[in-house]
């Protein structure tokens, strides 16, 4: 068992606590897929927690709440805050995207096969109306192309399939429609907002029931399920049977007891800076993929307006930017960029250049270098981490591979140096790796102090990644950060 495993397993009971920030557990979680031993420990602790929670709730069982408006809900009495169920209006760009999709649906999917034959009946309704604002009452019959607004309501299709429409929903029903993914639907339900539950009768495999949202299509294979859609995405929860979900991410089968979500992609990031070098990769302080990078000479670094996921994420004070610069010119450009935008540049990740004793990154204490990661000329591709001039860890990094180093600040101002999670190999370590430095500072932080729990993750690359690897890496980063990539 490696040293990180020992340390992590001692702390696993804390890292799984909901009060512990994600950053705390990031490195450990990333380590789990490759370590069956640690995974078993995690599963054991989670099992234990599940039992503790189960014991607690079984000791004081509570009844399900009455429907809204009733006064007998035990749960409601215990609830401190009540929130309105989310009804988010579409932001302009989302409305635009939805409109485009809707045009496609009307022109290519719903249009050609509309029918005037009644094929559905309203069984119950509250505040339900048609698209032209006409109130729909119990017993109203619906023809192909009908659009329902409002709810809650219950609708029965001709084949006995039942639909439960949530309040404030918008649903249209079309018979014999063509699906986006190809093939036909006996009945196509188009959900533009709200949620609909479906209990489907056995379907004709050549023309099944399908529920379409602006983001996905759920094709019934014979099941009960629920589809919800709002401005953040579409959600499918399957109660029994199987549903085929088709979206921009491809096609998959969602089975009973599972749920799947398709999220709205954010708008493209605004291009605000460019560099001559073409490689810039790294990781953020919380172990997430790099939040700013250069691709084809461009740096994407400005969060799009209204984005919920800024590209540059806060790192305690300031921001984290890690760059793998091919040359000093890129490093200088990044430093200038950071200064111009008031960002704290924490680490530059620079390829190891054989034959040169090059400082990779230094953390300073009032102008005095306390922690440094340097290349030694002991062997090609070796990196050593120094603390107060003494070597603490040395790793070998083969050409084209990488090694990660993380420094975690403690409450007393000390710092713990962790290395691992790379394709390199630790060849020497002087223990303990923890040091005490009450006034330790780093980079150009405005206040000059790191905060408790701050983690600086540094990725050390031996050699420059080849183009294919870099392209794959950037695609993964873009996907993880939900950015569309058009230039790769």
């Amino acid at each position: 068992m490696s040293e990180p495993c020992v340390t992590w397993r001692e702390r696993v009971g804390g890292m799984l606590d909901p009060e512990v920030p994600a950053a705390e557990a990031g490195a450990f979680i990333a380590h789990l897929p490759g370590c069956p031993g640690c995974r078993a420990v995690v599963e054991q602790v989670i099992r234990c927690e599940r039992l503790l929670h189960t014991a607690a709730t079984q000791a004081a069982p509570q009844r399900a709440p009455e429907r809204r408006g009733s006064s007998t809900s035990t749960l409601r009495r215990t609830t401190v805050r009540r929130r309105r169920v989310r009804r988010v209006s579409f932001t302009p760009w989302i409305a635009g995207a939805a409109a485009l999709l809707l045009v496609a649906v009307v022109a290519g999917v719903m249009g050609p096969s509309s029918s005037t034959t009644a094929f559905a009946t309203v069984e119950s309704a509250t505040a339900l109306s048609s698209a032209d604002g006409q109130a729909l009452r119990v017993g109203a019959t619906l023809v192909s192309g009908a659009e329902l607004r409002g709810g809650p309501a219950q609708v029965r299709l001709a084949d006995g399939t039942r639909l439960w429409l949530d309040a404030d929903s918008r649903l249209s029903l079309t018979s014999n429609a063509t699906l986006r993914a190809g093939g036909g639907a006996g009945v196509l339900l188009r959900l533009d907002d709200g949620a609909v539950g479906v209990s489907a009768k056995p379907q004709d495999p050549t023309a099944p029931l399908a529920v379409q949202t602006p983001l996905a299509e759920s094709v019934v294979v014979g099941t009960a399920f629920r589809v919800a859609h709002d401005s953040s995405g579409s959600e499918l929860t399957v109660s029994s049977g199987t549903v085929r979900l088709v979206s921009k991410d491809g096609e998959r089968l969602v089975t009973a007891g599972s749920h799947a979500r398709v999220e709205v992609a954010p708008p493209p990031a605004t291009l605000i800076a460019s560099f001559s070098a073409s490689s810039a990769v790294g990781t953020t302080s919380d172990g997430q993929p790099l939040n700013g990078w250069a691709g084809n000479g461009n740096l994407l670094a400005q969060p799009p307006s209204g984005s919920q996921q800024p590209i540059l994420r806060p790192l305690g004070k300031g921001y984290g930017l890690c760059f793998n610069g091919r040359d000093q010119r890129l490093a200088t450009s990044v430093q200038t960029f950071a200064a111009q935008h008031g960002l704290t540049l924490i680490a530059l990740v620079i390829p190891i250049n054989p034959g040169r004793d090059q400082r990779v990154v230094a953390l300073n204490d009032g102008g005095r270098e306390r922690v440094a990661l340097v290349r030694h000329d002991l062997s090609p591709g070796a990196i050593a981490a120094l603390v107060d001039g003494s070597e603490r860890v040395r790793v070998e990094v083969p050409e084209g591979k990488y090694w990660s180093v993380a420094c975690r600040w403690q409450a007393d101002g000390g710092v713990v140096l962790n290395t691992g999670a790379g394709a390199g190999k630790r060849v020497a370590a002087a223990v303990p790796t923890g040091i005490s430095a009450p006034q330790l500072t780093f980079g150009g932080s405005p206040s000059g102090r790191a905060l408790e729990g701050d983690i600086i993750a540094i990725e050390l690359h031996a050699g420059v990644l080849d183009d294919a690897a870099l392209a794959a890496r950037v695609r993964a980063l873009a996907s993880a950060n939900r950015f569309p990539l058009t230039s790769w």
Binding site: A25, E43, H53, A195, S199, A256
Partner: protein
């Protein structure tokens, strides 16, 4: 305008199903979120289900269906409690995997393991899991720092997990043919 009139039998059946599943649902949510938020989300799950009662009734795994909705609704709290998503996946997996008949045996093992802990640690675990207090609140009750409570709870969970693992493995071995 027509009044909402879901089938009365459906509502009765759904309420019965929810009553049966609610303790486990609340426990699951408390595994994901602090207690106050967990109870809020549990209520929202019930209200969501009551909007589409037929789906729950026709499903063959109501617990998993409810947990699916619960995870969706709980995701709204991620900004406040940015727990690592992979942890949540492990938690959800744990709830999906365990068979109901194991519960009594597991609870008995838990009780035995709890009895082996120190009085103060047991008190902390009770405050955390039975009363749903966070580390700061437990610290105030016991005149300890929140960090001290977190550290003690961490050790307590680890010790309990080890003890449980041992006891359950022994029971499994004894049951094996």
């Amino acid at each position: 305008m027509a009044t909402a009139s879901f089938d009365r039998d459906d509502i009765t059946l759904v309420r019965a199903a929810l009553d049966a599943e609610l303790p486990r649902l609340r426990a699951f949510l408390r595994h994901l979120l602090p207690p106050a938020d967990a109870d809020d989300v549990a209520q929202d799950v019930c209200l969501e289900v009551l909007r589409s009662p037929g789906v729950l009734l026709r499903g063959d795994n109501p617990g998993a269906y409810l947990r699916g909705i619960a995870r969706h609704l709980a995701s709204r709290h991620r900004r406040r409690y940015p727990r690592h998503q992979a942890v949540e996946e492990y938690v959800a997996l744990s709830w999906d995997q365990v068979e109901p008949e194991d519960h009594a045996q597991e609870q008995a093992a838990l009780k035995a393991c709890m009895a082996g802990l120190g009085e103060r640690l047991r008190q902390m675990l009770d405050l955390r899991y039975q009363e749903g207090l966070n580390a700061s609140q437990i610290g105030e009750r016991l005149s300890m720092s929140a960090d001290g409570v977190r550290m003690a709870l961490m050790r307590g969970r680890n010790a309990l997990a080890r003890c449980l693992g041992g006891r359950l493995a022994t029971q499994d071995a004894e049951r094996a043919p």
